[in-house]
Symmetry: C2
Subunit: 566 residues, 2 copies
């Protein structure tokens, strides 16, 4: 198996080049990343000719998935590579144009799955920005130095503060409904009310007003935080960013940790990183994902962990798994079931797990690793694939890796062994399973699992640190099925075959509902309520039909709209 | 304008007979309602030949909108006409068949709007059942005396207790995903986790298992509360219902209040009840809804209110408005904007408003009226029409009627008068606007409006009881726009024209997001997350395409499914 750069491996089903998520600042086509002391600036400067796919020009800082992949990379890198940064300014390198949002030509030509995947990834990236502000002491502020429309304004909404040029012409707008017959669905409709607390009726006026709202009214309505004359804008942004950075919770460490390129090998039937690999059974529609436990002992202290840098096992695993999830989601639409396994030494996993918990409060790097693991598991929670955990002899589902099993829709655990001399598999819970890696609904996966069942939750919780075999795990409700050696292969095969026989759409919708019992947060509302409505709208002729608004935009022809309310 | 029975008036756009929601027990085709002391029984016995539309046979107690209209009527009537009832048993009059759920033939032939409307109404009826259990001292229990599949089991889920025959064959199931490529979307996917607290992985197993789960496992998994042998079933249900009734909070009044048939007149361009009328401008796509204030003073005591019965103004208005909403939603799809007005004496409205608040705790009937008003306004909140309030001279938007304006997406209020001698309009808040009629998210509309804006909420709240003119109302954020006489007609005309120019789908999806800021409840999750996903699934070829599962079900042909995950 040849080892090559991650971006050149997968073959996509639709015969187009597979999408790679690997990049780094020197390769950015669409953003300028600069750092000045404790303030970083990410300036959007979209190269309109360098769309990820042919067929559209990305004028006016409009964006496609390629643009957002770079943004995601920048947000991630700043956290690890530039711990000295306490505030990040998102702005535009263009004059009088912040961003026109998602590119319409791209949306008009894209398939339904492409649109949905694109929106999901942009939503995740906006949430990463908010996670950095909330948990990493890197507060994002938007310097809206020109028109911010649609996804452009939604990017600003993901920041904690929106500074806007007040020049009599610059406006923020969400023109999707009036112009395109789709929704502002990169969080816009949710953040207006839930984050910015824009009054419901004003929000309604705003999103039906294609020309948008200029700075003074934007501030009055709560759409922006400050309206600043053009002449004083740069200086004000600088001052504001410096003030934010000064208040940062970051402890200003001397140096960051470089995120080295991931190395992946593979062919049409597999992808293999160092600790994570995936094997495809295309006929069955299954990807088997195998995560390896650590080869090395846990570091003796945080310095050693930082010295390991991106070779530090928990960081490497998280990055590899994240990349794999993104690539499979985007490039492998017909692998509808992911069978998740682990292999490795349980004690070593638990030692690493303990290390993370012990050092995350005191060390910024360990904390970032924990936060990354959290985000990767959240990505799994909103992945539209059936997730089945297979817990077999040799597995190491403990602590942070057990969380991987809890993220699955069902857990199969072998009761006993398949062959003589094997050890029967066990699982081991740790504090990591009690809220360190919460879901988007702010509950741990264990709390979600036992939502409304306090006695069962308490019983499970009491078994923390105890190696649990299939019988014990099953009795505590921690696994779904515990077949013995005689039934194991048949049961798992039937489970996978059944899943493959169902409608992928029904499964996607069902899983999106069942995975989030109980309370909702802004985050779950974005992926649940808002995204679902957008998916629906994307499939409606008024938007994406040949005479729909998305297709006809810019053609000079008005969309032909059915007037029936549904 | 001729006055005739409500069911014979509206002409539907799609040339089929308009749907009427008026019925009463002697007219029921599909249910037997019987009352034995404090226990009522609603037994399902669907007449398979009497579908609301031609083209399908409703075998195995499967149902269509007509069946659900009768159920809605029964639930409503029991609260008003049978206050002596403390427990309601929902069961089947058939042997070994509880209900097969929504009729597949009906779903397969229905248009997209019909399916969506049908699901919304069934969802509302299930929530009415839960409202009766929670707030009216009429607890619903399901006596599952035979197979309960899909919507059949979802009906049981709406009850507070599920008793199930344990005979080795009776099963509960949600086979929508495996058999039909759609969702259990009458609350099923939400109630499994949020109400029944079924473990997430078991819920996943359950909804992918077309044959369902028999009584013992159903109880173990939390899908049912008791498994009872056939021989003891009726007796056990009787005992359980009697025990529930004995614990009811109802004070066992001697007699109920009859809900007399609504009387409606109209023609193709209007519907007129006694206190509520609607006028249609089909070219503009607008229905103007005008609610009249009370002609009479408030009753002197609860006895007098009860004696008035269904002529009691708040009850009459609520019933008429409810019927109008349902008819417009179902029969008038192209009237996309509803312009809401009131006309009448403000003091009299406020006197009635006060009366409701003063007597609702002590009198069961007044309480039922308050609860009905709450439900009607909730129906408005989930109505897929743009709602604009127009507050003009002569209006009486006070207390419970002001709530109608707050349910709208935008409020227009005339600043001053149009003609000499007129009184400029005012609005008056009361305690009624502070939580008596909560939205599905459990917040008052005022709290939702000012979500996250405590100072503004406090300022508005402090203006309770004060008549507020347009300037004052606008300053407090209680209305959106306050044009004067010069601008009034133009502004309102443009607002309505703009709305009519937008994609109805985008508006529906947008409003479903903006109307519910902040917290979510099981109820808002059902209408937001679950319904949106179902709308999407209904529009996918895998379900409703000519080779989709819904179309091919029962044909002997397997559905042709695209295997792409979205």
């Amino acid at each position: 198996m040849a080892l090559e750069a991650a971006e050149q491996v997968v073959t996509s089903d639709d015969a187009a080049t597979a999408v790679s998520f690997a990049t780094e600042p020197s390769q950015y086509l669409h953003w300028h990343l600069s750092i000045d002391g404790a303030v970083a600036t990410i300036a959007m400067d979209v190269d309109e000719q360098r769309g990820l796919r042919p067929g559209y020009a990305m004028k006016l800082n409009s964006y496609d998935l390629g643009v957002d992949i770079e943004l995601h990379d920048a947000v991630q890198r700043l956290r690890f590579e530039h711990p000295e940064v306490g505030c990040v300014v998102i702005t535009s390198a263009r004059d009088r144009c912040f961003s026109a949002g998602a590119n319409i030509g791209m949306l008009a030509q894209a398939t339904h799955p492409w649109k949905v995947n694109f929106c999901k990834f942009t939503n995740e990236t906006r949430l990463e920005i908010e996670d950095a502000s909330a948990n990493s002491g890197q507060t994002y502020i938007a310097a809206v130095n020109g028109a911010a429309a649609g996804g452009g304004y939604e990017l600003a909404l993901a920041c904690e503060e929106i500074l806007m040029i007040d020049d009599g012409s610059t406006a923020v707008s969400l023109p999707e409904v009036p112009l395109l017959a789709v929704l502002p669905a990169t969080g816009g409709l949710t953040r207006l009310g839930d984050k910015r607390h824009v009054r419901r009726d004003l929000a309604d006026v705003f999103v039906t007003k294609s020309e948008g709202v200029k700075a003074p009214a934007a501030v009055r309505w709560g759409l922006a935080d400050a309206a600043i004359p053009r002449g004083r804008f740069e200086e004000s942004v600088r001052a504001r960013a410096a003030a934010r950075a000064a208040r940062s919770s970051r402890r200003r460490p001397a140096r960051g940790v470089a995120l080295e390129p991931l190395v992946a090998g593979g062919d049409d039937d597999r992808i293999a990183y160092e600790h994570v690999r995936a094997e495809f059974d295309r006929a069955a529609g299954v990807a088997t994902i195998i995560v390896s436990g650590p080869r090395d002992e846990a570091p003796k202290d945080a310095d050693e962990a930082r010295d390991l840098g991106s070779r530090y096992w928990p960081l490497a695993v998280a990055r590899e798994l994240d990349d794999l999830i993104l690539r499979l989601r985007t490039n492998e639409l017909t692998l509808g079931t992911w069978l998740v396994k682990t292999v490795g030494d349980m004690d070593r996993v638990l030692a690493h797990d303990r290390f993370l918990l012990e050092h995350r409060d005191a060390d910024w790097f360990v904390n970032e690793v924990v936060l990354l693991i959290k985000r990767v598991y959240k990505r799994l929670d909103v992945t539209s694939r059936s997730l089945l955990a297979s817990i077999e002899p040799g597995a190491c589902f403990g602590g942070l890796l057990l969380e991987l099993a809890f993220a699955c829709d069902q857990q199969y655990m072998l009761d006993g062994t398949m062959e003589e001399g094997e050890q029967a598999p066990v699982i081991v819970m740790s504090e990591a399973n009690l809220g360190v890696y919460p879901m988007g609904n702010a509950l741990s996966r264990l709390e979600s699992r036992f939502f409304g069942r306090s006695p069962e939750f308490a019983a499970a919780r009491a078994a923390t640190s105890v190696p649990l075999d299939a019988e014990a795990a099953s009795a505590l409700g921690l696994v779904t099925f515990a077949p013995d050696a005689i039934d194991w292969e048949d049961e798992l095969r039937i489970a996978v075959e059944q899943r493959a026989a169902f409608s992928p759409d029904a499964l996607t919708a069902m899983e999106a509902n069942l995975r989030f019992a109980g309370p909702e947060t802004m985050e779950t509302k974005i992926f649940g309520r808002l995204t679902a409505w957008q998916n629906w709208v994307f499939s409606r002729p008024n938007a994406t039909g040949s005479a729909g608004a998305l297709r006809r935009y810019g053609s000079g022809q008005r969309a032909a709209l059915s007037k029936e309310r549904v």
